[in-house]
């Protein structure tokens, strides 16, 4: 299998203000958000990053999406380095996170066209893709409604549609079902399955066990900026439920204070 994503000892630190130092009871001026994470994702698989809040999942994904630069290490996205060839990486990935907002003033239809143009998608292909995804997500009815007037679930579906206008081979989802009702969450989960069936490589970060169990082939567990374990879902579970297994691993790593 082709290694479509190779993450090599990614490192990211943030400066702490003196106030933050007090809150965290530390005299360190920098906080390590991601401390040398490495993993690989193969073509056509869904790779899950599992970890508690603040473990460094989002920071890792933001580095992969070239929104922020790593302090050390590198990652190759289909052969392009996120450090030296960020422009190329941006053409190859789709990135969905609640942090990326759509301009509320515009309609889904306009935004889809706008981002297609930024990705240099030819008009005929754009119309075909738009029709397909708007039908799949039921956006069609709301195509000319300003994003501001859409429900949270519909906004998330539009964000999802817009993030993959260029039909990328690697799609990065940061907490894709957060804040969604069960119906919309289901649509998103099903869509991840569909993408996988089409041979896309998907990186998904979440702290929701059921999501991992439903869609992921392999899982990396991140705690305190470190990759604690990285293996197939079956090997990680080792016969237990993922939830029980995760707590065991967490206790081994951090100690009893869960």
């Amino acid at each position: 299998m082709k290694e479509l994503l190779i993450v090599d000892k990614l490192h990211k630190t943030f400066k702490l203000s003196s106030k933050q130092q007090k809150i965290e009871h530390t005299s360190d001026k920098v906080k390590t958000a991601v401390g040398g994470i490495s993993f690989k994702a193969y073509e056509g698989e869904v790779f899950g990053l599992l970890g508690p809040n603040g473990a460094g999942k989002t920071t890792t994904l933001r580095m992969l999406a070239t929104l922020i630069k790593p302090d050390g290490g590198d990652a190759l996205v289909d052969g392009s380095s996120i450090v030296n060839n960020a422009d190329k990486v941006r053409q190859k990935i789709g990135f969905l996170t609640s942090e990326l907002k759509l301009e509320e003033y515009f309609t889904p239809n306009y935004l889809y066209d706008f981002f297609s143009e930024l990705h240099n998608v030819p008009n005929d292909i754009r119309e075909k893709r738009k029709n397909e995804i708007f039908t799949l997500f039921g956006i069609g009815k709301f195509a000319e409604v300003k994003v501001a007037d859409l429900s949270t679930g519909m906004k998330q579906k539009v964000s999802l549609a817009v993030s993959i206008v260029h039909d990328p081979d690697i799609i990065i989802f940061d907490e894709p079902t957060n804040g969604l009702d069960v119906l919309t969450a289901r649509v998103v989960t099903d869509f991840i399955q569909t993408l996988k069936e089409r041979g896309k490589t998907i990186i998904v970060s979440t702290h929701i066990f059921s999501l991992i169990e439903r869609v992921c082939d392999r899982v990396g567990i991140i705690i305190n900026g470190k990759m604690i374990m990285c293996d197939t879902l079956e090997n990680i579970k080792a016969g237990q439920s993922l939830e029980d297994r995760f707590f065991d691993i967490y206790k081994e790593t951090v100690g009893e204070e869960v």
Binding site: L67, K88, L100, K101, E103, F115, E117, L118, H119, N120
Partner: protein, 398 residues
């Protein structure tokens, strides 16, 4: 990839123009407001200094000779004359000082005025007969009739001892300043400042919204994960903002030009306002274009640095004060500078060039230097803005 600039540009313009309220308040409102305000100011100013044609001046006088009364008839101020005794003088002065429109003027002649002036010899060194005129400078009517009366008396006096005249022939034009120059001096002192302020306030209204606003709402990040080049995003935004700022500036300028005749009280001064030709307007357009690009770039950089639109507004204020002070400099300096160096100082070069254009003595090399240097500065600004878009600490500093 060049069409990324166009894509961003179109999006910014669509965002602006399809929001009718925003488009109206930024583009049409300034022009309309300025027109109404300046017209009103012009009317108010001329209303303050002029007296209604129908007004009958209330004058009291003591010992007024018939000859003067005839003269006052001729000057149209005799309608309300009342003769009073010398003892009533104090009461008259009292009425004038109260400024309640009871009395505008109190005139006291010597008892035998006509005989006195006939007998007076200016070579004798004696005190000349005196006419006392009491008035109130705080009252427009009193002030006006005082002026009419004293001028009338002056010409009466010179008519009696006429030895020579100055500029007597009404058919000869003695003031050799042409109307073009008169207008030029008014325009060149006022317009550079006004134009700069209009463009600056337009930029200030839209720049922070487009850049800090997108940062604040998290929509800029969505743009930044696309392969669109940062420099293209920066250019697209700056061009779009410049177009809007220019439109707004034009609206304000049209408002000013339409109301200027009223503001400058053209009817009374006979000033010609339509003195500029196509060359002047073209040069002006060039200067305004390059200046707008520069100002938009400056404001964009500040906005990219700020965390929110509110913060951007705070940061822009000092820049506004500087631009305001520099643009005021045009009002106090006579004519434009001839040293090329001055045309390389941002903002000041625009003021100098505009002063030159409006007063018909533009230095062509200075004008070229201004436009070129503004474009170079804007280019440096775009480069800085691109670097800022690439800097995660600036783009994601929440």
């Amino acid at each position: 990839m060049k069409n990324t600039i166009i894509t961003i540009l179109k999006k910014e313009l669509k965002r602006f123009f399809s929001d009718k309220r925003m488009a109206f308040t930024t583009i049409f409102m300034p022009g309309i407001m300025i027109f109404i305000m300046y017209s009103f100011m012009g009317d108010a100013i001329s209303g303050m200094v002029s007296v209604d044609d129908e007004y009958v001046y209330k004058i009291e006088s003591t010992y007024m000779p018939e000859s003067i009364r005839t003269l006052m008839d001729g000057a149209g101020i005799s309608g309300g004359i009342k003769d009073v005794d010398a003892e009533a003088g104090e009461a008259a002065k009292e009425k004038i000082s109260r400024n309640e429109d009871e009395l505008d003027l109190y005139i006291v002649f010597p008892e035998n005025f006509e005989n006195d002036i006939a007998a007076y010899d200016s070579a004798s060194g004696n005190k000349a007969p005196e006419v006392q005129v009491y008035y109130n400078s705080a009252s427009t009517e009193s002030q006006t009739v005082y002026k009419i009366f004293t001028e009338m008396m002056d010409s009466y006096e010179s008519a009696m001892t006429n030895k020579f005249d100055i500029n007597h022939d009404e058919n000869v034009k003695y003031d050799l300043a042409n109307e073009k120059d008169a207008a030029a001096s008014v325009f060149s002192s006022l317009l550079p400042m006004l134009l700069l302020m209009f463009v600056f306030s337009a930029c200030m209204a839209i720049g922070p919204e487009s850049i800090s606003g997108e940062k604040e709402r998290g929509t800029i990040a969505t743009l930044l994960v696309t392969p669109a080049k940062r420099s293209h995003i920066a250019l697209g935004k700056i061009i779009a903002l410049s177009i809007i700022a220019l439109l707004s500036g034009m609206s304000s300028t049209i408002g000013t030009l339409l109301s200027l005749p009223k503001l400058a009280n053209v009817e009374n001064t006979g000033m010609e306002t339509n003195v500029y030709g196509i060359t002047e307007y073209l040069m002006l357009a060039l200067i305004m274009l390059s200046t707008t690009l520069l100002i938009v770039t400056l404001i964009s950089i500040i906005s990219a640095f700020a965390k929110s639109t509110k913060e951007a507004g705070t940061y822009i204020t000092p820049l506004m004060i500087v631009v305001m002070l520099v643009s005021l400099s045009g009002m106090f300096v006579d004519g434009s500078k001839t040293e090329l160096f001055y045309y390389l100082i941002p903002v000041y070069n625009s003021v100098q060039s505009m002063t030159g254009i409006f007063s018909f003595d533009i230095l062509p090399s200075g004008m070229a230097a201004s436009v070129a240097s503004n474009i170079v500065y804007a280019g440096i600004g775009v480069f800085i803005l691109t670097r800022m878009f690439n800097n995660e600490k600036i783009m994601f500093n929440k």
